[in-house]
Symmetry: none
Subunit: 208 residues, 4 copies
DNA sequence: TATGAATGAGGGTTCATTCAT
DNA sequence: TATGAATGAACCCTCATTCAT
């Protein structure tokens, strides 16, 4: 495999790549505004100012578009979150960084996150992407990290990492609809609260 | 306003009420199985064994049906959960009872819960019901209770009841898709874990 | 199985049956005029004076409509041709009656025949119906009859009934496009010629 | 009119001529495999390995391409069949050579023949080419030859050359779909049968 | 009270064709 | 000479909804 290129990704023109990204971006905004079901080709193309047919020209079918949306949205999120988490060395530090960077990214890229969640939750999304989905992967990775630090004695030994990971992800994702609908919702304050909650919930007995 | 009738509820014959309930029940199962977007009048009526037109006859439009679904699903849930919560006298006791009864109800009435959540999350749902939504109400009621016991000194004083309520609801609701898709998911074990997490997260300093 | 009713045919209203027949009839005429590929729901519905959606309401999908078309067209043809063939007792007599009644039916119901042939020949038709197709069945039945009379000594023994049946059917079906496009084409004269050709081609040596 | 050029044939560069032939050849194979309706520019260009636009560049429109297909396919067929027919001097000999060479060519160049027939039978084909069509011309030429030998007393005098020509062409063309779909179909055996049939059908009384 | 016939809008997708490069 | 971007019309199909019966 060549470095920097996926195995079976078709070669694409510069313009094609740009258009795909542009259309996917419009799809993200449309999904964020109208939901997965409301994101028809007509609505998306209208937002970009192109014809409906052009979306079909650039994407094999709707699945293909949605895959690109998830990929695009997730990539940005991961490249924001990962370094901030890895900069920490302790379990509690990483957990705090994980929650904070997730919610900070959500604050600044609300639509990306909403779209990811919306696709992962939609019936078609669950059927088609499932394991691809950033959301599913996020739970897995988080669970794995929790488990590691737990073994290392940095977290209390008697919680189930799987359940804990689900609860943490759920708390993070719960911010997304509030951000959209509740103008008084203060996500930074919310972030501090969630950090505190799960710090208490994971803390080892001897933690001061 | 007529006596004995809510503000704008039209009076309904016995048969009408029964049909509405029957159709709403079928809608609940359909939504649970196929998602909100998959719950067309055709699919719902097919499940009941009636004509498509009859749904339109009994409900003003799809929104009206979905309001009934939410109402019906919530009522059952509330009548299960409320007494179990009120049976407790302490804050931690009520919180535990709240989480446990919510998840127990979900275990035994999965479709009801899935439908509620699915509607609340769908774009149309958010737009149309919003304050009606059981989910939103659930957060409000929970927040209010947390706040009361916090003032009474039964919970640690330095958490934000709003954020805490959101996190608790999120953890509860997160169980729903897992219940549907992950056959290895053990909701009773999950329930104990969530109880422990939020017990630690809300515990007052002097709690033994 | 109840007499006079097929095993799994859904029960249909009087109106539904009538509409299905009417739409299928319009489909037949449309196919005859514009070919299989030209027979879109839009064109067919326009001919009937109904909305496009109504066709989808009465037929599960395009295949369903085409099955009805073939069925409807074939039934009429068979009920015309069969008694005329069975009225004959000798091989040559039946062969003559077969050719004559086929072409006479074609003369009076040109569109029915064109539609059957068009569907049988279209790529989708071949894939979907194939053995259902009246055309295929016609060849089989004819071959079987030829074979029987050949064994009985009423036809010359040294021809292959399969090849003969194909040639006869081909000569019959060849009249269809001519009927449509060549105003000078005289189908009755053509009928007599074809009868003569295949009489000579099948005649036993001792035939006077 | 320019010297050395047919009435309305535009002059073409060597490359242009080659490309047109290459594209037409791909169209022939595509039609044979997927039918006339399935032979879209996308599928054809994919087979050649060129862009869709290039077909539109070399051909005025789809009709233009199909005319080239018919022309190209017919030319090969004619150059195969004609000398074999002309090598015979008697009527029956030529008729036998005609049928045999037609079916032999079909056996060895199935796609060419399928494409010709498919186009001639398609609704667009009938409308657009008609007199151009090799099939139509084939009937005419055959009819003329039959008529000539009939006048010369080599065939029985009482058949209509037009009807006979149609029946012969129909029997020949009927082999094409069988060749494609019926793996047990033996075209050489079929050829002998058809020769025998039409020999008997055309034979003059005193033929031994 | 309930049905089934009917509509019209909107869904994704395929197509031949045009045009700037 | 050839490409690939782009269009707009047409395709079948599903939907919520209306209405006469």
């Amino acid at each position: 495999m060549q470095p920097g290129a996926a195995a079976d990704e078709p070669e694409r023109t510069f313009i094609e790549t740009a258009r795909r990204a542009q259309i996917a971006a419009a799809a993200i905004d449309t999904i964020a505004e109208l939901g997965y079901a409301g994101a028809s080709f007509a609505r998306i193309s209208e937002r970009v100012g192109i014809s409906r047919g052009l979306i079909s020209y650039h994407f094999a079918d709707k699945d293909d578009l949605m895959r690109q949306v998830v990929h695009q949205a997730a990539e940005e999120a991961i490249s924001y979150i990962r370094p901030r988490v890895l900069a920490e060395s302790t379990g509690p530090g990483m957990l705090r960084a994980y929650i904070e960077s997730n919610l900070a990214f959500m604050r600044d890229h609300r639509n990306n996150v909403i779209a990811m969640i919306e696709i992962a939750r939609s019936a078609e999304g669950r059927r088609s992407y499932h394991d691809d989905t950033a959301v599913v992967n996020a739970v897995r990775a988080l669970e794995h990290a929790l488990s590691g630090f737990q073994t290392a004695g940095q977290f209390r030994p008697d919680f189930d990492p799987h359940a804990m990971a689900i609860a943490i992800r759920a708390a993070i994702e719960a911010a997304s609809p509030l951000l959209a609908s509740d103008p008084e919702f203060d996500i930074d304050s919310y972030s501090r609260q969630i950090v505190a909650i799960f710090d208490l919930a994971t803390r080892a007995d001897d933690t001061p």
